[in-house]
């Protein structure tokens, strides 16, 4: 409240200044000064000197740009692109430039709120913590934690330890399940270990960039600029867009391959077919470093079954360019063009993808296939030759994939199902042997389905605590997976957030959180880069760090004698010791939370996990100095060195001398990567007479995910006020729909109303439509299908059959 007052004063001041400017201009019309020196009593603020600037990664996407944050009088007042950051080299996108606004929406949550009928009553933090502890204590196995790739690494690590180490409960999963789970299974199936071998440097070095169902001009603009701005310097780079609609990205590309949904499976197989048929695959690379696999029928797992080269070749025989054209809609000549590019060993080829390949009921398959054609052709392991997946959240890699906040995971790439891994975790956490539950918990879709199912009907989850995400808008098929909670008194939804959202609509307890530079944090971006920042301003009202909230609940349970909250020495699970005094700090008391750097302490403990899978992190203090470092970060000659290219000799410190390439986490234990065959399979839902259009959902440049932050930033909200539906002009003409007409869009699961925008931001081909999901009043996820990839359990938001009629 105090802050609001200040800001209104500031605002008035600004208005006064402006008014004065005009008045002065008028008054001084007849005078002239040789030097325009402003009067000393001018209200204009020249005191840029008292602005302090500090580094932080941007709050939004997984690119991981660094910004310089300008703070004055306890408030963020300006942003600048960080020139010293390798990722963005001083450039940002429009969201990044306006990221300062995320803190200052007038409706910030500032006090804990408990449901009271249709409304809420204010309660104290002590009461709130007790209520959560009561719910957990009553039925610890029926409690679930739902987080995200926006958790900082220490926040995710604390939640992970609390659940798996404390409650012996594996029902913790992140929204990243909806976002990049198939990228993870693709990496695991191929290399035996997660995350890209390459990094963003490949964008500077590639001759050909292939974007698979990806629109980086809007979604990862800084990375896209990193490529297209090479042209301004006279460099040549061939851009290829394989997509389901024309976008801003398409306009920069030499080739646009317009495919039908699931066409990517056929295209990748078509490329492999041509490499084999033309004998242009890299015999040396394949013989030295690769084996072959295909799915094991009836036994869905990412190890599949090994096959020999002859069988691999046999399965690909049917994927001739003509057959691929039938399946994908992409002309055979364009398939041949791709085959020739991959068959040319002189070129350096980088593949980029994000949601197009991940939000896909065959996501694991298509991820594996794209890795496969890079391996088969030998376009791997040189700068510029890399298959690289991007992430949508700032710490999807850091917090979800590396800290392992997934239902089956443990930190550092370990898994709960592996006894040896559990022992390692129990050792680091100093837990009694056998504490960690070997059975994976519920993945996202299961968790929410179980939560929406009454106990009497077999629902196994009663309480979910949501931190840093908005499932009430981002889950697919919301009527089934989220809205079903409504009216069920036995179910209890706890939401920690910064603003009221579509999720808080059904929340029973709302906790106000600190965000971004209101707290310390560490993120991990898409190129394995771990990035640290410090708290710069205070959170508003009683808002507090998510990490503190978790620790406070854990301590409440510890006080109540819940045995899981003690380690085997009888200490509290989060025993934070001041490095100077060697005394335990009561960080569960908010007033002591910043007496010590909790982030640093948790990070140093987490670091111990990162050695097992060669994802080594440097000490916290190294990240304080750097604009992020790409793991594995290894100490050599007294310095910490990052790694640009994994598995390649000369780049990766874990590759033995003389090996050339070494996939040291190979699933076949022979240092080989796996080249997979997966057949083309049609999407689970395709348009028919009743629902004749294929609906694709996604993002736009101005808004980030569910828009809870960006829609509170005027510049962004003004540029993109509301969601809309993109239609093909010919389809619209047939239906008598013009730009600006209101239409009803319906699927088998729900319906929305919005306006049509023809020839707008994107241009979908006939029979397809696109609706962005940022708008909390146009819930396109009421319509989307909840079918999931069998390996990764990730849903497909890109292919739902809908019908459209004018209102």
């Amino acid at each position: 409240m105090k802050q609001n007052k200040v800001s209104q004063e500031q605002r008035r001041q600004f208005m006064k200044t402006s008014a004065m400017a005009i008045a002065t201009a008028a008054a001084s019309g007849s005078f002239s000064f040789p030097l325009p020196i402003i009067a000393a009593d001018s209200q204009s603020n020249d005191a840029a000197d008292d602005v302090s600037w500090n580094k932080a990664p941007c709050r939004f996407c997984g690119t991981g740009c660094h910004v310089q944050v300008g703070v004055q009088g306890g408030r963020v007042v300006a942003i600048a692109g960080d020139k010293n950051a390798e990722v963005n080299k001083g450039l940002l996108c429009v969201k990044g430039y306006h990221v300062s606004g995320v803190l200052y929406g007038e409706d910030r949550l500032t006090v804990p709120l408990l449901r009271n009928g249709d409304g809420y009553k204010k309660i104290s933090w002590e009461e709130a913590i007790k209520i959560i502890a009561d719910r957990i204590q009553a039925a610890p196995e029926r409690f679930a934690f739902y987080g995200s790739g926006q958790w900082t690494i220490p926040e995710g690590y604390a939640a992970q330890k609390f659940m798996k180490g404390g409650l012996a409960n594996n029902h913790i999963d992140p929204n990243a399940r909806l976002c990049m789970a198939s990228a993870v299974t693709g990496f695991l199936a191929t290399y035996g270990v997660d995350e890209p071998a390459g990094c963003y440097d490949d964008l500077d070095n590639c001759d050909v960039l292939i974007m698979w169902g990806n629109n980086p001009a809007e979604m990862h603009p800084v990375l896209f600029s990193r490529v297209v701005d090479r042209r301004s310097r006279g460099e040549k780079v061939t851009l290829i867009d394989i997509g389901t609609r024309r976008t801003r990205t398409t306009e920069h590309c030499q080739h646009y391959l317009e495919m039908k949904g699931h066409g990517d499976l056929a295209i990748a197989n078509g490329i492999a077919h041509l490499l084999l048929k033309n004998e242009t695959y890299s015999k040396k690379f394949v013989e030295s470093y690769c084996s072959f696999k295909m799915p094991d029928e009836g036994n869905t797992n990412i190890n599949g079954r090994s096959i020999d080269f002859a069988e691999f070749r046999k399965h690909l025989e049917e994927y001739t360019p003509e057959r691929v054209e039938e399946l994908s809609g992409v002309p055979a000549d364009q398939i041949r063009m791709l085959g020739e590019l991959f068959g040319n060993p002189e070129l350096k080829i980088t593949s980029l993808w994000c949601m197009g390949m991940n939000q896909h009921t065959r996501g694991t398959a298509v991820n594996s296939l794209v890795h496969g054609i890079h391996l088969l052709s030998g376009h791997f392991g040189r700068p510029g030759d890399a298959p690289t997946s991007l992430t949508g959240q700032p710490s999807a890699c850091g917090t979800v994939r590396e800290v392992g906040t997934l239902a089956h995971g443990l930190p550092g790439g370990l898994v709960v199902a592996n006894e040896e891994h559990r022992q390692k975790a129990e050792e680091i956490w100093r837990l009694p042997a056998g504490r960690i539950n070997p059975k994976p918990g519920f993945h996202t879709v299961q968790m929410w389905e179980s939560f929406c199912t009454p106990k009497s009907a077999g629902g196994q989850i009663d309480t979910i605590w949501v931190q840093v995400t908005n499932p009430g808008q981002s889950l697919p098929n919301l009527n089934k997976l989220f809205n079903g909670k409504k009216g069920q008194d036995e179910k209890f939804l706890i939401v920690s957030d910064v603003y009221p959202t579509a999720t808080t609509r059904l929340a029973d307890l709302i906790l106000p959180s600190a965000m971004w530079v209101e707290k310390n944090g560490v993120f991990g971006n898409s190129e394995r880069r771990t990035q640290q920042w410090f708290k710069m301003v205070d959170p508003p009202g009683e808002a507090r760090d998510d990490c503190w909230q978790t620790i406070a609940v854990a301590h409440e349970l510890f006080d109540r004698g819940v045995p899981g909250m003690k380690d085997r020495d009888g200490n509290f699970l989060f025993n934070i010791v001041d490095p100077q005094t060697k005394q335990s700090v009561p960080v569960w008391e908010w007033e002591h939370y910043y007496d010590v750097n909790v982030d640093e302490q948790l990070f140093e403990e987490y670091r111990k996990f990162t050695r097992f899978k060669h994802k080594d992190l440097a000490p916290y203090s190294e990240y304080v100095k750097a604009r992020g470092l790409r793991w594995p970060v290894v100490e050599r000659d007294g310095h910490w060195h990052e790694t640009r290219l994994r598995f390649a000799e000369g780049f990766d410190p874990y590759v033995s001398t003389g090996k050339g390439m070494q996939f040291y986490h190979s699933t076949t234990k022979d240092d080989r990567a796996q080249i997979w065959f997966h057949p083309w399979i049609p999407p689970p839902e395709v348009p028919d007479d009743e629902f004749p259009f294929m609906l694709c959902t996604g993002r736009v440049l101005e808004h980030w995910h569910t828009g809870t932050m960006t829609r509170r930033i005027k510049e962004l909200s003004r540029a993109m006020p509301k969601a809309y539906i993109e239609m093909n002009a010919a389809d619209a003409a047939d239906a008598g729909i013009r730009s600006g007409d209101r239409v009803i869009v319906e699927s088998r699961r729900g319906s929305i109303q919005c306006v049509a925008w023809i020839e707008g931001r994107g241009k979908p081909p006939r029979g397809t439509v696109f609706v962005p999901f940022f708008d909390e009043t146009i819930m396109i996820n009421d319509l989307t299908l909840d079918a999931i990839d069998p390996f990764s359990k990730q849903p497909d938001y890109k292919k739902s059959a809908v019908r459209i009629r004018k209102v």
């Binding site: 402006s18 008014a19 004065m20 400017a21 005009i22 008045a23 002065t24 201009a25 008028a26 001084s28 002239s32 000064f33 040789p34 030097l35 325009p36 020196i37 402003i38 009067a39 001018s42 603020n45 840029a48 000197d49 600037w53 300008g70 007042v77 300006a78 942003i79 600048a80 692109g81 020139k83 010293n84 001083g90 940002l92 430039y97 300062s100 606004g101 200052y104 929406g105 007038e106 409706d107 001009a217 603009p221 800084v222 701005d229 306009e251 920069h252 440049l701 101005e702 509170r712 930033i713 005027k714 510049e715 003004r718 540029a719 993109m720 006020p721 013009r738 925008w757 707008g760 931001r761």
Partner: protein
């Protein structure tokens, strides 16, 4: 449109299309706030171009009509407008490097206040006060590569080197596809622009009071296509940084070394 009207207006249409081609279909034009020709009146409203209550002709942005609007256009008014736009482009103000520019404090504050209207804070990328082509960046460069100063309007010149994806940073402030009226309130207050740089003494050349990052083209803001209140008083000088130095504190120094000096002389008493 029926065929009679079609025939009747064909000549007019041709003229309009040519006019549009001249202006660029998606080009809007910023105008009459330029004090060169428009003396500032005390009652001049300082209206943001994106203010919901202002009509297009009030806010100095003159977009070409959309094809979809053409059937309903009042052609007389449209024609006047087109003609005035066309004329405006022929009325380029000749750059006179020897002109003595005198800037009043009032003009300067006015210029800064105008500039602040489409920037969230000093250093933020300005939003675009006219409709944009959703796809092509070529139309941006057509005008903003060189900038333009006409008698009744101006086009600011890019302050940085050409970057290929213009719309990545510069978004429409008044989008054509949808009316932006309702917003979530925000208490964000951006850093205002500095009003002047520090001087060693009165009359000394001021230091540059802002970062020069993405602002390498000084004349973008201080040249003849900018607001008068920001213009250089000595346009005949070409080498700006000869006298006006950037402040290292604002430049995100790339090398994190502190300057060192030899120790002072030891002088015995």
């Amino acid at each position: 449109m029926n065929s009679e009207r079609n025939a009747g207006f064909s000549a007019l249409m041709a003229f309009v299309v040519i006019s549009i081609a001249v202006v660029g279909y998606f080009v809007g034009i910023q105008s009459p706030m330029n004090p060169v020709t428009q003396p500032i009146k005390s009652d001049s409203p300082l209206v943001p171009h994106h203010s919901a209550t202002t009509a297009i002709d009030k806010v100095s942005v003159l977009p070409a009509p959309r094809y979809s609007e053409m059937p309903n256009l009042k052609w007389g008014a449209a024609l006047d407008r087109m003609t005035s736009v066309q004329n405006a482009f022929t009325q380029r103000v000749a750059f006179d490097p020897t002109a003595v520019i005198v800037v009043t404090p009032g003009e300067k504050e006015f210029a800064l206040a105008m500039r602040a209207l489409n920037r969230a804070y000093n250093g933020a990328p300005p939003t675009v006060p006219h409709p944009v082509d959703q796809f092509s960046q070529a139309s941006c460069v057509a005008c903003h590569e060189t900038g333009f100063q006409g008698e009744s309007f101006r086009i600011p010149k890019m302050s940085h080197a050409y970057l290929q994806n213009c719309l990545q940073c510069h978004v429409e402030s008044n989008p054509g596809h949808m009316e932006a009226s309702e917003f979530r309130a925000s208490t964000f207050v951006g850093l205002p622009a500095p009003t002047e740089g520090p001087r060693a003494f009165p009359g000394a050349p001021p230091q540059i009071p802002h970062s020069t990052w993405m602002r390498v083209e000084c004349l973008s803001c201080h040249g003849d296509s900018s607001y008068r209140g920001l213009q250089s008083t000595h346009p005949w000088r070409q080498n700006c940084q000869q006298c006006h130095t950037p402040a290292s504190s604002l430049e995100q120094a790339q090398i994190g070394e502190e300057p060192e000096f030899l120790p002072p002389l030891k002088i015995e008493n």
